[in-house]
Symmetry: C2
Subunit: 136 residues, 2 copies
Amino acid sequence: MALSGEYQERYGLDIPEWRVLATLGFRNDACSAQYISDCTRTHKSTISRAVMTLMQRQIVERVENAHDRREFRLRLTKEGKTLYQELIPRLLRKEREILSCLTAQERKELACLLGKIEKSLDLVQTRQEADTEQAY
Amino acid sequence: MALSGEYQERYGLDIPEWRVLATLGFRNDACSAQYISDCTRTHKSTISRAVMTLMQRQIVERVENAHDRREFRLRLTKEGKTLYQELIPRLLRKEREILSCLTAQERKELACLLGKIEKSLDLVQTRQEADTEQAY
DNA sequence: CTAAATTAGTCGCATCTGCAACTATCTTAA
DNA sequence: TTAAGATAGTTGCAGATGCGACTAATTTAG
């Protein structure tokens, strides 16, 4: 959608890469690839590849986890944090632009309604074994 | 999303194929591939391939347009109409299921809010030369 | 009328991304 | 303790789809 142009065209990030960046930046703390996969509902192979690319671009780094040597702790590098901080205001501005056709009250209502649906869908999905997300 | 499972798993239709079927079924009248491409915001090559598949499955048929021999008039076959009529109630039921967490009043509000955003986005998009649609 | 520009549709190509198999590691149960 | 099962992450593969070039037909401008 309109938002993705902001990070894709301007920063050369594809969608999974943005998801990794956003998750790490939002949490501001190390986490596993599996965690990112879970909370963005993106297949772990896709996240794996996005992490590889971001490591090559020195946006993300990973360190071994001494307690579980299967997984890695992922976190943003200095450059990664800078990139994240640079992107956030742009995206918020874009979001405001998109929602500018609604009043403050309407925006609040919309968030509330979508929240309800999301909550209800999450139940359904976990109940019947995670659907693949697809648009329309 | 949850809806697509209905036509994908049950009827072997992928998303572009469903879009063709839905457009032709909804209009209940012949139209060009370009028209479908426009109103579903799907690239014409994708629509072209979907139409090919649907023709092989005898769901869609096309006839030459005497007035413009570049384009074809597309329409559903008898089987196509049957399939469409069979799918509609299933999809509506699914939609009701998804929206069942909202009251009637809330559903109306949601439709209204989304309508406003869509309208506003359409203007923006045509102004800056059709973004590619992408989810988050 | 003719040449350039536009439009409908097709096709090759590249990219994206999910699936499933695989390795390595960890956990659980007998 | 050991064997079976679960889990994290990687990779080969295949399907889906957008892009751009191409052909054929039509429209527009000079």
